[in-house]
Symmetry: C2
């Protein structure tokens, strides 16, 4: 007997990047985590919650203090912020809120591979139109503008390319799109200052911007993200969140991490510097490295090397990177920027392999 | 312009019980939290995660260790367990997984007031048939068995009554229902041993049992729950969870709390004892106290007292309890069992008020 919505049976689940056990001695450059630990200041607030036994009580249902701090930092009102269980929950809520029966989602392709899964998980016949990137891996604005749908979603910077599109082109696209638009800024903190679209929210009533503490704040293990839009939009999508969707420790830790801007900025700076160094080194070795504004690089090896072979070789050397098999990505591998030391080890292995292949 | 699924606009959001600021000196007996702190053993595992900076990495996506511990404790396989961000997420996932366009949910009434909200939040025209409790506040099995739907959901023990239905009657109902059945065991640890339906899972392919760490494990602030069913059912509904739905600290803390059974059992025993004492005291004062198998009691004051007045009076005395205005509940107030001291203060206030009203 079939107990479920009939569409559930055919859904292919999302596959996150491999998570080796923490005991494996692996250099993990496959899921764009931050190589540096989160702010040391979080320890104190955690100790205080535990020693007072506060976990026995429900958390603040709206993550109010964290909302306020985010709003202050961005110069918006706290009613424009919804804090979520990772930005994954923000995306899931938005897709559910927007999509009615047989609606269309529009997205560039390739991009974050969760968007097609979320579309299918609406379980109501909604489908996604994937608009291929141009040959230079930039958005195809002509095709995106002619696509029609209830929701347009893209990542800025995009994944897996790391490319940051020009702001004015994004804004023109948002203005022309007759539906809701999600700009997923998971990696925006690694892009130049002023790249975010949050400041444009009040001029674009259809715009949602999502963010996460997973990458730039070194808190992938915590699960806190947020989404920003107009007050009216946030009020509506909030109906879909679980009453207590973000735990007490999560709220407190994210708040402390956000307050510790000097630590955050110094970490981000280190990663940007490693990214630029690795980009130069690999370019010299004959790799094409897509100019990245994120904490990862998308690299095409020289002709003598198959990307999948390099991926497998690195894996055997206990270095995990990411390979995607779609038509555009198949010529590349994606490498998360690790610590300075991890980048050196990675580059050493790649160099050794490349030289061997060229002999 | 309307950006959302048109059904979203009319949804009335779920209202959780009031959460006063932790600085208010309030005796909080309105949301069935545990008055005692969680196991002191959780501190060590949290310290270890923080001092090793592990939060920078993604958590285990399937809460594997916690699943295994739950499976071992219940004598089932770990593939039968899905760990969630509070049992709220388990419920939300199950409703979304089951409900197609215009499907029906069946539930006794009153019960946990989230069920109607989750039905509406499917945003696909699904509706709920509320089957009123009998005059003695027990389930109306004749009416429940004749109701047809895609999902039957009930709480065991029920809320806000605290009543535990007879196991054989529940099993007969589950066998006769032609659809999925959710047995929500948020309060089962306060009921006599052997009351759970988890042991019946393998005999009832349509049965799901949800649990939470919020109540009996004193971890409402943490947000961890789980749902148990057949391996096939769990595999299907897992498609709907976010990739990393439970954070690293949550997984580790819940695991430690679960392992510390002596502490857990002693806490539960204290609450049961306080519940029985308060039941006796209030009964002597002329209240009708519904026999409770949960960590709260549902009490009808003597004729001279309006429940809503007593609720307001207690609130003025900084004691929060819960009042529900539906046709059946309106004659009662629901009181969560606090610490021994909190119960004494509460009883003192009620006694004082009752004597004043009888003069």
């Amino acid at each position: 007997m079939k107990y479920f919505n009939e569409r559930l049976y055919d859904v292919a689940p999302y596959t996150p990047g491999e998570q080796p056990s923490s005991k494996d001695r692996v250099i993990k450059l496959n899921t764009n985590e931050n190589p540096y630990p989160p702010s040391p200041k979080i320890k104190e607030v955690v100790d205080s919650i535990l020693s007072e036994g506060l976990l026995k009580k429900y958390p603040n249902p709206n993550s109010s203090k964290l909302c306020e701090e985010i709003a202050n930092k961005e110069g918006i009102s706290k009613e424009q912020v919804l804090v979520t269980n990772g930005s994954d929950e923000a995306l899931s809520i938005l897709f559910r809120a927007v999509l009615g029966a047989n609606d269309k989602v529009v997205a560039p392709y390739p991009t974050y591979s969760l968007y097609p899964v979320l579309t299918e998980l609406a379980l109501n016949g909604s489908s996604i139109e994937k608009v291929p990137l141009k040959g230079n891996l930039h958005f195809d604005y002509i095709a995106l503008k002619s696509a029609k749908g209830k929701l347009l979603t893209f990542a800025s910077p995009n994944a897996p390319t790391g490319i940051l599109e020009r702001k004015q082109e994004l804004l023109d696209l948002i203005s022309s799109f007759k539906g809701a638009v999600l700009c997923d800024e998971a990696y925006i903190d690694f892009a130049p200052n002023g790249s975010s679209l949050i400041q444009e929210i009040n001029r674009h009533p259809n715009l949602f911007v999502s963010r996460t503490f997973s990458k730039s704040y070194s808190l992938a293990g915590l699960r806190v993200g947020y989404i920003i839009s107009s007050k009216e939009n946030i009020q509506l999508i909030t109906k879909l969140k679980d009453s207590y969707n973000v735990g007490m420790l999560e709220q407190a830790i994210a708040l402390e991490a956000l307050k510790d801007q000097p630590y955050f900025l110094s970490n981000v700076q280190k990663i940007i510097q490693s990214r630029e160094e690795l980009t130069q080194q690999l370019s010299k070795l004959g790799f094409y490295v897509v100019p990245s504004s994120a904490n990862f690089i998308f690299v095409k090896p020289p002709k003598s090397i198959y990307p999948i072979d390099l991926f497998e070789h690195l894996k055997k050397s206990n270095i995990l990177v990411r390979y995607f098999s779609d038509a555009i990505s198949k010529d590349y591998i994606r490498i998360s920027i690790g610590s300075k030391e991890e980048c050196e080890i990675l580059f050493g292995k790649i160099k050794e392999y490349t030289i061997a292949k060229n002999v």
